[in-house]
């Protein structure tokens, strides 16, 4: 009797057996594309992982631990934590802890085709940065034998951050971003403190007049 697992195995054998020039897509590589966003309060790391068809089962074994053909939330979180253990993030030579903030996993069947993309996002708070130059370093040691890495700094959304340079090793498993941080002028700081207070005061005032609209200070 041919089970679903057998069918998948046969499919994989058939796909892997195809001449590369015919199939022409990611087969035995695990693409890990990382985008590092430096923000005033921390570092955001977004990683998109695409296992090729020939390594998808190997990767799925790391994810679908109970082998029920479904990636549960717990399994997704566990895999993200596994990946996290293979990451080292440093700011100014100091190790920082990453916290999983978001993730999205396609179904195992989609991953097995070699086209499925797993998306994970981590964030690490930085203690208040002094004005001047700083360095962020990220090393990815996840499944090194089969992986192809991309490492890039996101264009900063805040004018307080300026990217000075980026360096990578040859396969981009290690990347370093040098950036400068200019702390906002004191008037802006005062504004940041005063503005929410004013908004809150206005909200309270309008609230007393019976308005239902809520204003959330940001």
């Amino acid at each position: 009797m041919i089970t679903m697992a057998h069918r998948f195995a046969l499919l994989l054998v058939a796909l892997v057996a195809l001449p590369p020039a015919v199939f022409g897509h990611r087969l035995d590589e695990y693409l890990q594309a990382t985008l590092v966003s430096i923000e005033a309060g921390g570092v955001r790391v977004q990683i998109n992982l695409t296992p090729g068809v020939a390594v998808a089962d190997q990767v799925l074994r790391l994810i679908d631990r109970d082998n029920d053909g479904v990636i549960s939330t717990n399994e997704a979180v566990a895999y993200a934590e596994l990946l996290k253990r293979d990451l080292t993030l440093r700011v100014d030579c100091r190790d920082l802890e990453l916290k999983l903030t978001a993730f999205e996993f396609p179904a195992p069947g989609e991953l097995r085709t070699g086209w499925g993309i797993m998306q994970m996002e981590f964030f690490s708070k930085t203690s208040s940065l002094a004005g001047g130059a700083h360095k962020v370093m990220l090393e990815n040691r996840h499944v090194p034998a089969a992986s192809v890495y991309l490492f890039n700094a996101a264009q900063p959304k805040s004018g307080e951050i300026q990217i000075i340079s980026q360096k990578r090793n040859d396969n981009q498993s290690v990347g370093e971003i040098e950036f400068s941080f200019s702390s906002p002028p004191s008037s802006s700081r005062v504004g940041r403190i005063v503005a929410p207070v004013v908004i809150l005061a206005v909200a309270v005032l309008f609230g007393r007049r019976g308005r239902t609209k809520l204003v959330t200070p940001t």
Binding site: L18, P20, G24, I117, N152, Q155, Q166, Q172
Partner: protein
Amino acid sequence: MSKRIILSSALSILCALLGLNGFAQESPAGKPTEETVAAAKKFLATLDESQRGKVVFDFKDEAQRKRWSNLPTAMVKRGGLRTGEFTQTQRDAVLAVLEAALSRQGYEKVLQIVEADEVLKKTGGQRMFGRDEYYVSFLGQPSLTEPWMIQFGGHHLGLNITLVGDQGTLAPSHTGAQPAIYELEGKTVRPLGRESDKAFALLSSLDEAQRKQAILGFQMRDLVLGPGRDGQTIQPEGIKGSALTDKQREMLLDLASEWIGIMPGAIAKTKMEELKKQVSETWFAWSGPTENGGAAYFRIQGPTVIIEYAPQRLGGDPTKHIHTIYRDPTNEYGAKWRKP
């Protein structure tokens, strides 16, 4: 459709033989929006009610807007109608829409990319490839005044054309090819050949100090901002336009015109003028071999443009399998013209 493609490819080859290299130099007057709208309405008129329901999406349908990929349609489902399901009249009508909406250069490129996929199907025997596996969809109704969008795509092609009156943008769109070089009627066809040739010419024009800035010291194995990377913007790298000579800046713009010139004359001209103003702030980066024709990655990145060209190491010779992306971080899907 096949007849038109062959005729079109033959025309391209003929033009190359006649030395008419670079359709980008065609008339800047371009084609009127009216022609595209009329062709789109004519195409819709060839469809029955059920087909029209499948091809036209609400303009605000964000899921459909982002449903495009470099991958075969068997792997990533597209919305809209499949070319393989069309009658000959409907196929001709779809081609007429593309012919009206694109420049001659762009139309030729699209046909050559589709034809490459047909070659891939024939040489590999894979039914998921070929000219029957492309999808067309509209977001919104064809209009001379209201925003609407044409999507045409499949394997190695994701055209997202947003039109608002006389304004239009191709961002974001994907072009690719496998094989990136093939024979048709005894002639060699390279759908993305000019992109590669112009990039190598620009690289060759750089002196040692400029090369040191332009060439990235690491491998680039794929597009950074390919399909599915909407909204992401990376820090530019390489050599800045301000460090190039006037002649090199012209070459950089000419290289970018290979993507921008997919759109018809007037729209492409407006975009090229914008780029020209920003050329000093536009970067050129290179990774890989520097010998002419090698499998090299390059990127153009400026305030309103991101272009990447990435040979794929999967599937044999990487020079024969290319992925590219065109983006405008300030106007993806015509964002700046769309009503909130």
